[in-house]
């Protein structure tokens, strides 16, 4: 009984983590500029990696493997915002133009953003 509950929990964690990872990667392709893509990458870094690693922790039980998984997770969550911040700052000072909604009517918005992302 206990084993089945754990197995279902591991499945749920791994699948939801994979969902966030694929969604983040999809956002990397779809979103219009580098700053908005950072949010999608941040999604894959935080919840995507986090849920998968926590799922692996639950699967392995409490032992030294769990400690290493938690170390990897702590390291990812500590360094990912630093790298993202460095990237954003470098992009701003390097002259990348942040995408903003071109002042227009509502109907244009979606298609315009999408077109920018796919080009």
């Amino acid at each position: 009984m206990m084993a089945q509950v754990l197995s279902v929990l591991v499945w749920a964690l791994l699948l939801s983590g994979a969902f966030f990872l694929v969604t983040g990667a999809l956002g990397m392709v779809r979103l219009p500029d580098v700053f908005t893509r950072m949010h999608a990458a941040g999604m894959a870094d935080t919840m995507g990696a986090g849920l998968i690693l926590v799922g692996l922790c639950v699967h392995s039980g409490v032992n030294l493997v769990t400690l290493r998984l938690l170390l990897v997770l702590a390291f990812l969550w500590f360094t990912s915002p630093i790298a993202t911040h460095a990237l954003a700052k470098a992009a701003l000072s390097g002259g990348a133009e942040p995408y903003t909604l071109a002042g227009g009517d509502e109907g244009e918005r979606g298609t315009e953003a999408e077109g920018g992302g796919m080009s």
Partner: protein
């Protein structure tokens, strides 16, 4: 990048842990994946991070270029020296069994021999990596 709060505080926090992890990878080379080469690279990466944040001069005060060049040669000396010592003890070149303190258990010698040889690899890789980084990052400053 010293004046930038986020990168400075992050690097300050991480650097000791990276050095600790590098030496852990070295000392546990025969129990888990890793060994001298990876440990040397990670150790050099810790100093590269410090040099990126605090500048080349600040790191070269702690770890001068002369010292890293010496490390590159010293590692090879350790490696070859272990081999010569085993030959002097009457075994083959790098025959680790000669290093066992207890002659009835020659397999213990393997452990010590590998640790010593890996130490040579670590020192050489660390020295070469940091030297390459120094020369690459400092090019165009003053001829070195």
């Amino acid at each position: 990048m010293r004046e930038e709060v986020i990168i400075r505080v992050g690097a300050k926090f991480l650097a000791p842990f990276i050095i600790m992890f590098a030496l852990y990878v070295h000392f546990h080379g025969d129990y888990s994946p890793g060994g001298g080469f990876q440990a040397g690279v990670i150790l050099a990466a810790a100093f590269a991070l410090l040099a990126l944040v605090y500048g080349l001069e600040a790191v070269q005060k702690v770890l001068p270029l002369r010292f890293t060049r010496m490390c590159a040669a010293l590692g090879v000396l350790i490696f070859a020296g272990v081999g010569v010592v085993t030959m002097l003890l009457g075994h083959n070149y790098l025959g680790y069994n000669a290093l066992a303190s207890d002659p009835t258990h020659p397999e213990h010698g393997q452990h010590y021999g590998i640790l010593l040889v890996e130490l040579g690899v670590l020192v050489t890789v660390f020295g070469v990596m940091v030297t390459v980084f120094y020369l690459f990052a400092g090019r165009g400053r003053r001829g070195s």
